[in-house]
Structure formats: structure tokens, C-alpha cells
Amino acid sequence: MNALSVHAPVLLVATPLLAAFVVPLVAKLGSTVRNAVVGVFTLLTASLAGLVAANVLAGSGAPSVYVFGANPLNLTLPSGMHVPIRILFEVDGMSAFMILITALVAVAATLYSFSYFKEHSGGEMYYPLLFLLLAAIFGMEETGDLFNFFVFLEIAGIAACGLIGFRPWRGRSQEAAFKTMALYTLSGLFVLIALGLLYGQHGGLNIAYLSSRVGAGMLDLVALGLLVVALGTKAGVAPMHMWALDAYGEAPAPISAVLVASSQASLYGLFRVLFTLFGAAVSVAALGWFLIALSVLTLFVGVTMALLQKDIKRLIAYGAVSQIGYMLLGVGVGFTTSGSRPAYGFVAMQGGIFHMVNDAACIGLLFLAAGAVHRASGTRDLNRMGGLGHDMKWTAALFAIGALALAGVPPFNGFSSKLLIYESSFAASPILAAIAILSSILLLAVFMKVFQAAFLGPRLLENVREASRGMLVSMLMLAVVVVVFGLFPGFFVDKLVTPAAKALWLGRDAYVRAVLGG
């Protein structure tokens, strides 16, 4: 058991990779065998994720290190060296938190896919791509090496675009996939340039080592700018959010949910860069306020444009973009005040980080429900829907839970995290809190519109059937998370969010020390 715990971080990445390589081979044996294998590997991955997170949280979020190919495996520095020479995984509270989010979304999306993709061709490509995407997200969240992060970023991008364009008989999906891939490529290359600049100056690729070396030199700042913009693009921060609408809107429904997790992993990378990599060097208040401005823009553009949409998935995609704004707002307030460290800065970090898991659950639930609606009604146009609630009672109820939670209506989980963001951003500047609350109200209006147009009213469509059981179960799983996190927020804030926020806000020294010692 102990060996399993020790190797859990790498197994968490290797298991989905193994699944991705094995599934095409066993797919020859028929779809039942394939689905069984996929299910087993998903559960295995999820339990490994739980194990990793449990190990880290048992140590209250202190970073643990896994060095690839070293003997012994926690030997970060060979004797006499001050530079880590091997790739290493470094898992701290924040990583553990992100891993749990990804595992949750992964289980829900895979379960949902079993029914959603039952009669589609290409399952032997769909599930491997999904596993690759998951492995890449886990890798991004665990790695302590900048180039390794870039590699996982690229795997995530390529697998995601393969999945977005997975239905090539729809021209729009190809358009979305091309646009997304082009933007992913550009931002990936920005990361690579930044990495080159950092390597050229400091001769290392390890995040902890670089963090101990970067200063406020001009080259380091150029690298920082490139990293911020590239990771912001991948996370879907306005005004670079436009790919996100196309991608979330056109991808198959379960993939949209996983893409949200992938965007959050990029956001995690952004936070890692801001707080850990450049945590000591950068005291640029202007950058913090710029991030806050971007987050407010993201919020506002997301909700207002959502009001106009006719396509149900594109509408939810705008909602998803606006939620990225909330996370960035919370953490941006934390970043701006990280020099002076007032109490509300930490609360803001907690709010922003807590909102990540809430967003993954609600948006995932909404995307899955929208997929069920699309499948049942054969259309995504809200103007052609109506009265679906008569035939799809469960879907309607679950959609309502997701929508209310996303709009921040108590007692669901969206409210608890938004409350933390409102109060702390009010302390930073009342205008921010006002905009955040206004956006929440608009979001409620948006989802009233969807619910009214799709589920209420007289039956407009014939032959509508309730979503299949597998789809309902996966939605129910996310809904349970939404409700439980809403009813017992204190427990989760204490156990999960606070270690994560501490790891970012105060944990830089511990992060560096875990690698460099001393």
C-alpha cells in the first residue's frame, strides 16, 4: 500500500495514458468490452486522484516531490548541484485541489459518454482522446517542470481539438476546432519562447529553481508577459475568450465539461506563474490591476452576450466564460494585495479558488443537461424548443439546479464562493463587488430565459423522450456535488480550499524549499 501511495502521482498520469494506448486495441472486441475497460480505467484514475489528494491534504498541503528516474526518488539535487537536473512532479495543496476537480469531471463525462456516444462511430478514437486530455490535465496540475508543463499543455490542446472536431460532418465543429487549435498553437509557442528566455538566463527548467532565480530584469518580465497572455488565452480570459465560445459550443456535450476543467488547469498554470514562479520578483501592482480589469471585462462580456444567444450550448459557453472572470477576480484581488497581505486578500483567494470547483460542477451539469436536451429535441435553437419539461422532468430539474447554482442563488454552492468574492472585492474596491453582483443577477436572468424557453410552456416538439439513465446518473452526480457543496461550504472551505489558497498565497517558500532544500 505504501509503494502505491509513493508512486500515486505518476500513476495518476500513467494510468490514463495506458488506457489511451490500450483502448484502441481492445476496441476490436466489441463495444461492451471497450466500455468495460474504459469504465475500469476511469474508476482507477479517479481513485488514484483521490489517493494523491488525500496524501497531500493529510500533510495539510505541504508539497511532496517525485523525481523521475532518480535513485532514490526524492533526490532532487545530485550531490554538489544547486540545479535540479531531472523532471519532477511537485504536488501541493493547490495541485491536489485541481486534481480532485478534474477527477470529478472525468468520472461524470465518461459515464455520460457511454450513453451519449452509444450509436456514434469512432468510439475507439473518442475514449483514447478523452483519456489523453485527462492525463494531460493531471500532468499540468502536478508537474514542477516548466518544459514538462508545456508538453502537457500541447497534449491537452491537441487532444481537445481532436475532440472538438470529432463530428466532422458538422462544418461548424471543424471551424471551431481549427480556430481553437490555431490559438492553442500560438499560446503554446509563447510559453516556449518564455521558457527559452528563462532557460537562457538561469540555465534551469524547474519551476522552484527558476523561482529562486528570477528577478525584475527586463528579460524575466518579457517572459512573464508572454506566460500571462498565453495562459490567459488558454483559460479563456476576455478579450482572448472567443475560441472558448466556439469550442465549448461545438464540442460534444461531455467534452465541453472536460474542456472547462482544461481551461481551469490553464488558469491554475497562470496562478502558479504569478504566485510561485514570479512570486518574489514581481511587485507590479499595475499587472494585478490589469488582471482585475480583465476579469471584470470577462464577467461582463460573458453575461451580457449570453443574453443574446439562441444556441443553448453557445449560451452556456458564454456563461462558462463569465465564470472564469469570477475566479480571476478573486485571485486577482489576492495577487494585487499580495505585497501587503491584508486579511481580505486571503478571503478573495479562497473565494476564487472555491469557485473553481463550484464552476466545474455547475457548468459541467449545465453542459451535460444541454447535451441531453439536444439529443432529445434534435435542435439546439432555443426558439424552436418549448415544453420539454413535460417529457424530461429529471433533466429539467437538474438543469434548474445547475442554473440556480451558477447564478449564485442560495443555498447552492455558487452562492458560497461568490459571497467570499463579493465581500473581499468590496474591501478592495466597491465597484468590483457591484459589477460582480450585477453580473450574477444578469446570469440568473439569462438562465431564466433558457429554462423558460426550453422546458416551460406547451409541448412544441413531438417524440421527446427523457434522457437515458446513464446520462441522468452522471448529471445527478454533479447535482449532488452542487447541493452538498452548497449546504456544507464550511467543511469544504476548511478541508480543501484553505490548503489550496495557502499553497498559492504563502506557500512559495515551501514550494522552493521542497526542491532546493535548506
Binding site: 518544459f147 508538453v151 500541447e154 490542446g157 491537441i158 481539438c161 481532436g162 472536431g165 466532422p168 462544418g171 461548424r172 471543424q174 471551424e175 471551431a176 476546432a177 481549427f178 480556430k179 487549435m181 490555431a182 492553442y184 498553437t185 500560438l186 503554446g188 509557442l189 516556449l192 519562447i193 527559452g196 532557460y199 537562457g200 527548467l205 465560445l245 466556439d246 459550443g249 461545438e250 452576450m305 443574446l308 444567444q309 453557445r314
Partner: protein, 116 residues
Amino acid sequence: MGNFPFVVAMLLVILGLYTLLFKRNLIKLVIGASLIETGVNLFLVALGYRTAGIAPIYTYAPPALADRMVLPTPQALTLTSIVIGLATTALLLSFAVVIHRHYGTLDVREVKELKG
């Protein structure tokens, strides 16, 4: 010679960026991405060069120069980055082919069903 190779690498990146921003053909955009990719690879390898160094391979290396080898890490990184570049290019081009099949055009300004 100064930093001429670095400058050339960055110029390649800039040319690629120019293509992405101001060219109108989807395949031209892919060419732009490839140019950036090439530029970054050149940049990485140039970072590791040592004047009058030799390749980091000990087989039949001239013993006199054996302590002056160029840095190997950027070369390893570049190998990975080259394959990643090929993967993205292939994927982008196949999307472009299917887009052409559906839309009948490769003009960026006409491939915009997803808007608003």
C-alpha cells in the same frame, strides 16, 4: 557576430506573427504557425551554443575539445518541440481540408459561421 542568431530566430517568430495577423488564407496561417515554430526551435538551439564547441557526443570526439561541448539540454527540448510542431501542423491542415469541403473556401473572412 553579436546576437545575430537570436535576432534571426526572433525575426522568424515575428514573420510568423505577421502572417497570422494579416494573411487571409487558412493554409497561409498554418504556414505562419510553422514559421513561429521554426523560429522558436532555432532560438532554443542557439541558446545552447558555445563558441568553437563540438556536438555533445563522445563517440570519436576530438579529445582536445572534449571539455568544450555545446549545451545538450536545448537540443533535447528542440527534438520534442519539432515533433509537437508536426503534430499540430497535421491536425490544423486536416481541419482546413474539411473546412474547405464544407464551406468551399479557405478565406478567413468567410469562415465565420460562429460569431456573435
